[in-house]
Symmetry: C2
Subunit: 275 residues, 2 copies
């Protein structure tokens, strides 16, 4: 998907919500478990209920991979459903891949070609030749981990190297990668205060922001420091939406949660851009 | 697999060779393409031909993932074949995964439970809570990326933070993780000279060493600086063995290549441990 198309969607829907499809058989409503493919049926119901309030869906690949081939089938069906019924939706494979050149090319093909995702999350540890293969696909994006929302982020990401924290080195160094205009970055909402300095290094790049809600990050803080003239944010919510209810009304409750977040986003957008 | 069992295998076979199953439809012999599952048939032939000369197999997950469900099926069949016919073989999922706690748990289940791998490669960028879920499985190992064999390793891994290069910080910090005795580390053979200092931080941990052969690393150098009293090395070769020939004799040629490396390993072992 062209970035202009994503921006247009955000502006027309007054939403930069990404719904994380971390679909977990232990948490989905019991009545779905008798379906042939409970994971797909759950995703389909969630998508049908929430698509007016969000602009992106982000399957967390681990949740599918854990079920082997059956899980990959559920993932492919989910992607086919999105591509057919909701082609305007931006789709992110939350896979956090990264390997040497020829291997990264394989991963890129798996997500961009085989499954037609718009973006895939990437770990930066192996450097340039592990990232660039993901950047050779037109109208696709690689979303590089910069500063993640978990406690372990402080193990390495915030260590200072040559006067700059590692996550800032990642931001800075990756700007020189070939086709770096196709990069986005993961910055956790639990660390929104860091966004001001992050925006000094990457003033315009889109950020994928996990950790609002369940993990304790604040949407207002994220917007205060992170928003750009093109919005430049995709804020993810997973559990808060998916498991708002575990009863038969789960899809309605998910829609209500998504709408609540979308309303909050609309207020933030109006503050900055007017009507 | 218990580490003692791996060590016993290494000593009885006089080999610490790991064969990387980076199986690529574009490179396997043409006559296999008419089989129902060419990737599995190729792997099976390679395993049958090389198992006397190696102690481990390492499917590179990207190569399977690139083919979607069909690829995962080939991977599962390969693992079933290894588990049934060659249960003594140590198996490594070269997946380079890493995500926040509950997601890492999913990846761990996928590889350790669903597919019964002995080990999986992990990226360290997200820190403690992304690694520890892989360390809760008894007799399984997580192989953490430390210093990789590619050029991009110099982007971040060798930067100095608090007086120590990042990859050394990874080695040092991870020693404090819970169940860290289940950690192994990836250290590229192209950077064998670094092994001396690495062994000062992790004197006994097993190292998975890619980059011998095709990528230019030297087995002698790796042994000189990296070998421990329990050998402590798994040296990987992929392309040099798999694609030694692309004709009908590919399995024989692969066996010859594996045998050549095993012979070299035997010499290195005899130098240090005698007969």
């Amino acid at each position: 998907m062209k970035i202009e198309h994503l921006i247009a969607q955000i502006k027309s829907k007054n939403s930069f919500l990404c719904v994380g499809l971390d679909t977990d058989l232990d948490k989905i409503p019991e009545h779905l478990l008798k379906e042939e493919d409970p994971i797909f049926e759950f995703n389909k119901a969630i998508i049908d209920a929430t698509h007016s309030y969000c602009v992106a869906y982000k399957p967390n690949i681990a949740f599918y991979e854990a079920y082997g081939i059956a899980g990959w089938r559920s993932l492919e069906k989910t992607m086919d459903y999105l591509n057919e019924k909701h082609p305007d939706m931006y789709t992110i494979a939350d896979a956090k891949r990264g390997d040497i050149g020829n291997t990264s090319t394989r991963y890129a093909k798996a997500f961009f070609d085989t499954m037609n995702f718009d973006a895939v999350t990437i770990a930066p540890y192996m450097g340039r030749d592990s990232v660039e293969p993901f950047l050779t696909f037109e109208d696709k994006h690689a979303i590089l981990l910069a500063l993640t929302s978990n406690q372990g982020a402080f193990d390495f990401q915030t260590r200072t190297t040559e006067g700059l924290e590692l996550y800032k080195q990642v931001l800075k160094t990756s700007r020189d990668y070939e086709n770096s205009e196709r990069l986005m970055y993961v910055v956790g909402a639990t660390k929104a205060i860091y966004l001001k300095e992050i925006r000094e290094i990457i003033p315009e790049s889109f950020l994928l922001v996990p950790g609002v809600g369940a993990q304790g990050g604040s949407l207002q803080e994220v917007c205060k420091y992170g928003i750009t003239k093109d919005v430049g944010l995709l804020v993810n919510s997973s559990r808060g939406i998916l498991y708002a209810s575990q009863a038969k009304d789960f899809a309605n409750k998910a829609a209500q949660q998504a709408k609540t977040i979308q309303n909050e986003m609309e207020m933030e957008l109006h503050k900055r851009f007017g009507d």
